[in-house]
């Protein structure tokens, strides 16, 4: 590519701090972490290189493998659940119901809460000795069971439940904004054609909400990788490995277990995972732009 004009000196100088931050803070710390993952660092950074030993240790750890599996289950169900529930809520509010703004506030409210609070509330509600199970039993239904939080097979779904409860409001707001942007003419036309309401939503409204829902989904997906506080508040990774997640595995090893090497190896794998997941999308976008440019 040929340089068309001289770079503006003052603009370059103005951008220097940004460049500095980008290189030192983002790339620098990432490189530092990756470097540490090849050393035998424990509590403090060490410069004794051990090759891929930390990685082989990582992938022979049942806890790490369980955490990957858990975050996958959680991530898919959480994002899908939020999108579905959020869309349904938005569609319901879009019917020009009474007290719409009150409902909107109620549904969005959970999103304003910290994950720690959400986690604690749901932990109490689902705790068989304190919460819903105990209350229902005290009303007389003695055999009622709702013990998701302490049940190995169900604990991860308890997390999904709490997560969806928190995140659906965000999707609702974004989807509702999108729906309000759709022209009323389309509704009128569809009505005249006698198309049922649900069909209008599925075939006409939903496709137009694509970009809005994609943005919401992307926001949620980024949260999934970082999932930590809700797990700590609700189950602390238990019972056993049932709700262990990578972020918690990394934090535990960074601090409690004084195991920098293993923790940074985990973090590196996580970053690689994100890159691998995002790369195809970027590639498709890139190709699409190119195709557009050519046309």
């Amino acid at each position: 590519m040929s340089i068309k004009r001289k770079p503006n000196l003052s603009a370059t100088i103005a951008l220097l701090p940004t460049w500095f931050v980008a290189v030192v803070v983002f790339i620098g710390t990432m490189a530092w972490s990756i470097r540490l993952s090849f050393t035998n660092s424990t509590l403090f950074p060490s410069s004794t290189y051990v090759g891929l030993a930390q990685y082989s240790k990582l992938f022979s750890s049942a806890k790490w493998l369980a955490s990957l599996q858990n975050v996958l289950i959680f991530g898919v169900l959480y994002v899908a659940g939020c999108l579905l529930l959020g869309f349904l809520l938005a569609a319901a509010l879009d019917r020009k119901i009474r007290f719409e703004s009150a409902f909107r506030t109620i549904f969005l409210y959970p999103y304003a809460m910290s994950f720690v609070v959400t986690g604690l509330i749901w932990q109490w509600m689902l705790n068989p000795a304190l919460g819903i199970q105990a209350s229902v039993r005290s009303l007389g239904w003695e055999s009622f069971v709702l013990d998701w939080v302490v049940n190995r097979d169900m604990a991860i779904y308890a997390l999904v439940l709490a997560g969806v409860w928190q995140g659906a409001g965000l999707v609702m707001v974004i989807a509702l904004a999108g729906m309000r942007g759709i022209e009323g003419e389309q509704w009128k036309a569809a009505r005249i054609d006698g198309i049922p309401v649900w069909r209008i939503y599925v075939s006409i409204i939903l496709p137009q909400l694509g970009p809005a829902l994609a943005a919401a989904g992307m926001l949620l997906a980024m949260g999934v990788i970082k999932t930590y506080d809700i797990v700590v508040a609700m189950t602390n990774g238990g019972p056993g490995n049932a709700t262990e997640v990578p972020a918690k595995f990394i934090m535990d090893n960074l601090f409690g277990r004084q195991n920098l090497g293993l923790a940074t190896a985990g973090a590196t794998v996580l970053v690689l995972g994100v890159i691998i997941a995002v790369a195809p999308f970027r590639y498709i976008m890139h190709m699409r732009d190119k195709a557009k440019g050519a046309a």
């Binding site: 806890k63 068989p128 939080v149 302490v150 277990r257 004084q258 293993l262």
Partner: protein, 410 residues
């Protein structure tokens, strides 16, 4: 790379220094601890009161949860803004900090107070690194205790302490039949590991226990001992309530205090909770070493003294070390916290019946160290994982589980 790290730390420390340039003359210290439960806070207050009486200024920064406090402490150290003192266990956890030169030795205080004579030799060895004393011991805890509610035992018709595990399980059945929760189970990994250890000690004895944890011995006798331990641990699953997962130890103790549950396996710090609730040992609740055990697992707490670069803090650290090892403070602290004094020369008559049992076992040398003393933090974590996985996994395959246990040391 080390020098770069040091430069970085020094830079941050310098930035911190200039901010607090107007230092007070009084010895000021910030104490970081995870002692936040009723009994623990009362015990910490004993040290605080005496420290302030001797002219020190005390700043409390307690953080609930052992792991959370550790994480916060490491962050502060790396940021070059170390607190003046940190509560931590005696053992390998402090070794890394000391080898990096981040802690102040308190050699002169120890020499002046003749700590070498006052402390059991094994403890004195553990607080000494490269010939210098670094840690100020606060108290030792016995961890093999089985506490029971006398009221609950009475209701269930149990008249005497069980001597064997079989008798204990028979008693637990009685408690269950009487409509109580037999075992108040603390459902956090570290608590479960302690139960595993106390059962292990009762099965393999003191020598066997040391062989496994210190020598990492994998002989058939050790494997057999671990298998028997896992069997007993697995059997206990049938006696805990549905809300046990993730439960705090003090919440479990509360179940005994209110006679909702019969027994609790816990370290003697649980006594602090009973004391705060106005319950007396021997009268309202009983304490016994777990059945068939000829000794006690112990853990020892201490105060660590990071380098802060402030003169008044250095002064305060020495004063604090002096206060902590004061014989009267040691006894008072032990009474409030439920622990056993570290000094051998204190007035034991004030201690309660449980602590006296503990002191006897200690004096007789019938003690084995907690895993945090002999294992690295990584191995301690792996041990927690192992016990938690076995406990919550519901597997009864003790042979393969025992294999996983010995893999911790590899």
């Amino acid at each position: 790379m080390k020098t770069m790290m040091k430069l970085f730390l020094a830079g941050v420390a310098f930035a911190g220094l200039s901010a607090s340039a107007h230092a007070e003359d009084k010895p000021t210290i910030e104490i970081m601890s995870s002692w936040t439960s009723g009994g623990e806070a009362a015990a910490l207050n004993v040290i605080k009161t005496e420290f302030e009486k001797r002219g020190g200024v005390w700043k409390d920064s307690s953080i609930a949860g052992f792991g959370a406090a550790d994480a916060a402490f490491q962050n502060r150290i790396v940021a070059g803004d170390a607190p003046g003192a940190k509560q931590g266990v005696i053992g390998l956890a402090a070794a890394d900090f000391i080898s990096q030169g981040l802690f102040n030795p308190i050699d002169d205080v120890a020499a002046a107070g003749k700590w070498a004579d006052a402390l059991p030799k094994s403890i004195h060895d553990l607080i000494t690194y490269d010939g210098k004393v670094y840690l100020a011991p606060t108290g030792a805890h016995g961890e093999s205790w089985l506490f029971y509610s006398k009221e609950a035992f009475e209701k269930a018709g149990i008249s005497q302490e069980p001597k064997t595990w079989d008798e204990l399980f028979a008693d637990l059945d009685k408690l269950k039949a009487a409509g109580m929760v037999p075992v108040a189970w603390g459902g956090q990994p570290w608590q479960q590991t302690k139960v595993f250890n106390m059962i292990l000690l009762s099965q393999v004895g003191i020598d066997g226990f040391l062989k496994i944890y210190v020598d990492k011995d994998k002989s058939p006798a050790s494997v057999e001992g671990v298998k028997k331990t896992l069997e007993i641990l697995g059997k206990l699953r049938g006696y805990v309530d549905a809300g046990a997962a993730g439960r705090n130890w003090n919440d479990a103790t509360a179940m005994l205090i209110t006679a909702k549950a019969g027994v609790q396996f816990m370290g003697d710090w649980a006594k602090g909770e009973f004391t705060v609730a106005g319950k007396e040992p021997g009268k309202d609740y009983g304490c016994m070493i777990v059945p068939e055990s000829k000794g006690m697992v112990y853990i020892a707490d201490s105060l660590w003294f990071p380098k802060t670069g402030k003169a008044e803090t250095d002064k305060a650290q020495k004063l604090l070390a002096e206060v902590v090892m004061d014989p009267a403070v040691q006894v008072e602290f032990a009474l409030k916290k439920g622990s056993v004094p570290m000094r051998a020369d204190v007035d034991k008559s004030k201690l309660d019946v449980c602590a006296q049992k503990g002191v006897e076992l200690m004096a007789a040398g019938a003690i084995v160290p907690d895993q945090a003393i002999v294992l690295t933090p990584q191995q301690v974590g792996a041990l927690d994982d192992f016990v938690d996985e076995y406990w919550s996994g519901g597997s009864d395959d003790t042979a393969s589980a025992a294999g996983n246990f010995f893999a911790i040391f590899e």
